[in-house]
């Protein structure tokens, strides 16, 4: 194809039809790339539509706050000039605007939605809007302030108006503040009273327990992976099946099995009691606490540590260790100075897998975690399915995602992501 002989001296290499070789190569490469892109395009599109887009939409909910402005447009404008620090209620113009807005909102059945939204910020507003909605239908214009306060004394409370004013912008940082146990008051951002702080505890606990679980997975997984990689094929295949079998079993079944084993009248405690190791009233508490979560999750995530370790160990030539020994190293030195450094990549890959999986784990801590062994994800699930506070759930999720990305970045800086090997 290309005319290689034309390249003597300082002349530019060209193809037979005269285009410079460099350009021709670039075109060919671009064509290759386009072909590759076309091949992965369905997958890319699929991921964009079913993974990236929903996540982006969920993340956006953590700051979105259109509802106040959309439901009470006139009131929000009228309330702009009100100074909440004076201790006086807003003037009649605001109540007149509220009358107009509420009439429209009740007709569109939007008022109770706003009530539920603002109830997250200030308890009681849900019923304020629900009750007011019923009365507003038959309310006549004029004297709005008196009538509203008569319908519900909530309209005569500063706090209600402060909440409406504070959450009237289209975007809010309120969910993020709540997610770090803080709130905005007239004195600025303050942290919530200690009796209401929960998210720091949960984030800290999730992080701590994920580290512990990763540690146990390394301790337990390393020897097994070593055996797998070094036993004769027949035995190691059998062992491999034993590793994979729980991997293929339903998560719920495995977690429930742990319940049967670990509870106070369960298999382990019963055996210990029968053997006389523990007294009947001194049975070990192995479940419904952190211990339970750590045991069950270490077991469930162990294959994610063993498999990358195994595939890395498989590639380490036995001649290295033999060479070390022939040069005078004892068993430990040969392992520690020669074999172990070669497996770091596997440990890294396994640790990242296990840590990231466990930091977002939900079902096992929910079932065996009791009150001390639950993770931040359990709280996110609560806000998604029970309290319907999706904004707060989204902000907690965003923070969790951010933490994972920071760890990933730190790992890349310290160990180097190129050193991670899955095989």
């Amino acid at each position: 194809m290309t005319d290689m002989t034309a390249g003597s001296g300082g002349e530019v290499l060209t193809t037979r039809d005269g285009t410079p070789l460099k350009a021709a190569l670039a075109i060919a490469l671009r064509r290759e790339k386009m072909r590759a892109l076309l091949l992965i395009a369905p997958l890319l599109l699929f991921i964009l539509l079913t993974f990236i887009a929903p996540i982006a939409d969920m993340l956006f909910r953590s700051v979105e706050n259109d509802i106040v402005r959309n439901t009470l447009p006139e009131t929000v404008i009228a309330l702009q000039d009100w100074d909440s620090t004076t201790g006086e209620l807003p003037d009649d113009a605001v109540y007149d605007a509220l009358f107009v807005d509420m009439k429209a909102a009740v007709a569109a059945k939007e008022h109770t939605k706003l009530g539920s939204r603002l109830n997250y910020e200030s308890p009681g507003i849900a019923s304020l809007f629900r009750k007011t909605g019923r009365q507003v239908k038959k309310m006549e214009p004029g004297n709005a302030k008196e009538k509203f306060i008569e319908i519900h004394k909530g309209w005569g409370e500063l706090n209600v108006w402060k909440t409406i004013q504070q959450f009237s912008p289209s975007y809010t940082d309120g969910y993020y503040l709540a997610a770090v146990d803080a709130k905005r008051t007239s004195e600025g951002i303050v942290s919530k009273p200690e009796a209401e702080q929960i998210y720091f505890t949960l984030f800290g606990r999730t992080f701590f327990m994920s580290v512990v679980i990763t540690g146990f997975c390394i301790l337990l997984g390393y020897p097994i992976a070593f055996l797998l990689a070094n036993l004769p094929l027949r035995t190691s295949n059998l062992l491999m099946i034993l590793v994979l079998l729980p991997f293929w079993t339903s998560l719920l079944v495995r977690t429930s099995a742990w319940k049967v084993l670990l509870q106070q009248q369960g298999v382990i405690n019963e055996t210990l009691y029968q053997l006389g190791f523990v007294a009947d009233d001194g049975r070990l508490e192995l479940i419904n606490n952190q211990t339970g979560t750590i045991i069950a999750m270490t077991h469930i995530l162990l294959p994610f540590m063993i498999l990358p370790l195994y595939s890395v160990m498989k590639t380490i030539s036995p001649t290295y260790v033999r060479a070390a020994k022939s040069l005078g190293a004892n068993d430990w030195t040969a392992f520690w100075r020669v074999y172990f450094p070669n497996t770091i990549a596997g440990i890294g890959a396994g640790s990242i897998l296990v840590f990231i999986l466990s930091i977002g784990y939900y079902i096992t801590p929910e079932l065996v975690g009791g009150r001390e062994g639950t993770f931040i994800s359990n709280r996110i699930a609560y806000h998604i399915s029970s309290s319907l506070n999706w904004g707060l759930a989204a902000s907690l999720g965003t923070i969790l995602l951010g933490i994972v990305l920071i760890f990933y970045w730190a790992y890349d800086k310290i160990v180097g992501i190129d050193n991670v090997k899955l095989g």
Binding site: K109, E110, T112, K113, G115, S116, N119, Y120, P123, G124, I125, A126, S127, R130, A195, E196, Q197, I198, T201, L202, R205, Q263, Q264, Q265, G266, D281, N288, E366, G370, R371, E372, T374, R379, I384, S385, S386, S387, L388, N389
Partner: protein, 364 residues
């Protein structure tokens, strides 16, 4: 050979088209014995009367509120009738996710002509809610683990000296806070006034704190019966129907502690955003399934009280066990000597706030 293929294809087409004629109606409920009771008392007779309707059971009532909201946002509501607890009905009504019901116009009157709204009475706690059953959250205890003096009142739960061992409570503030205050000396009619103040919340949490290490917290209704059967707990709260099954059907050494049982309601809602035709069908079903006889029929299969006053006299025997169901109803006078009324409005307003404090206390 060719003829055979043709016949097969033809049969398949006929089947496909006859399946298309039968309209699917998705009814969402809680699964287990409860769904089975609805299937026997409502679905089967309804389908027998309406050959064109095919009822599909979905068991995701526990996530109904979140799922309905997601479906509504996506503009594709696939559920026709949903069974929810009253608190969720209020929430769904507030969010505009459930249809408002004109009870007198849309539901059947009692046999004696009493209008539906009078027959249901106070149980219509939301404009969108069609009451179905009265259930209660109450305690069961192991008869073999309480010594010679079985507990008689709810404060036994807080008395770890007299009744040592673990107890199971639901992992949420609702009901637990009320029981804690009752056992801390607050009068029954003052409970919600006290709980409405920050000091009252602290008081309830302090009472719960005294048994914090003796509690296993449950989140699914099946947990407590399992814990009681395993002997993991000496007493625990759950729904009365679950305890009935544990005691009468599985014959476990467990007894009911009806004291201070908290009445709650369960019923139907119809989602908004359905086509006119589907709404009409859902309403037709609901009208049938909540008439006096049908509500009484359900009590043959599960020990929950029918929501209509007119159904109570019609409650008969358990279909399989043949025992009288009336004494097992939470509303039976012997069981309802001391009951506690769940305050829907209070919890709708304060649930998020108190739950945050409760969970923070729990996590410490």
């Amino acid at each position: 050979m060719k003829l055979k293929t043709l016949t097969l294809a033809l049969t398949a087409t006929v089947f496909a088209s006859s399946a298309a004629i039968a309209e699917d109606m998705t009814i969402v409920s809680w699964g287990g014995a409860y769904s089975a009771s609805q299937n026997n008392a409502y679905h089967k007779p309804y389908m027998a009367n309406n050959a064109g309707v095919n009822i599909i059971n979905d068991e995701s009532a526990a996530e109904a509120v979140a799922k309905l909201r997601a479906m509504n946002e996506a503009g594709n509501v696939t559920w026709d009738v949903v069974d929810v607890v009253a608190a969720d009905a209020i929430r769904l009504c507030d969010e505009g996710l459930a249809m408002e019901i004109d009870h007198d116009a849309m539901l059947a009157s009692a046999p004696d002509g009493t209008s539906a709204s009078d027959d249901f009475g106070d149980l219509i706690v939301s404009d969108c809610f069609i009451p179905q059953i009265v259930y209660s959250t109450t305690f069961g205890y192991r008869t073999d683990k309480v010594g010679g003096t079985p507990p008689a009142d709810v404060c036994a739960v807080f008395d770890t000296a007299a009744y040592p061992g673990k107890r199971s409570l639901e992992k949420r503030p609702i009901n637990n806070m009320e029981w804690a205050l009752l056992c801390d000396g607050v009068a029954k009619d003052k409970v919600y006034d006290v709980l409405g103040t920050p000091a009252g919340v602290d008081q309830a949490l302090a009472k719960l704190d005294s048994i914090k290490d003796d509690v296993i917290w449950w989140s699914a209704g099946a947990d407590t019966p399992q814990l009681l059967a395993d002997g993991e707990v000496v007493m625990g709260s759950t729904y009365n129907g679950r305890l009935f099954a544990l005691i009468e059907e599985q014959k476990q050494p467990v007894a009911m502690l009806w004291d201070a049982q908290v009445f709650d309601l369960d019923g139907w809602i119809i989602p908004t955003g359905l086509s006119e035709e589907r709404t009409k069908r859902a309403l037709d079903y609901v009208k049938f399934a909540t008439d006096t006889q049908r509500l009484a029929d359900q009590a043959k299969y599960i020990s929950y009280g029918p929501a209509r006053a007119s159904s109570a006299p019609l409650v008969g025997k358990h279909e399989a066990l043949g025992i009288d169901m009336a004494p097992h109803m939470p509303t039976d006078p012997n069981n309802a000597k001391n009951t506690f009324l769940y305050n829907y409005e209070f919890w709708a307003d304060n649930r998020d706030d108190i739950d945050a404090k409760f969970q923070a206390w729990l996590a410490k």
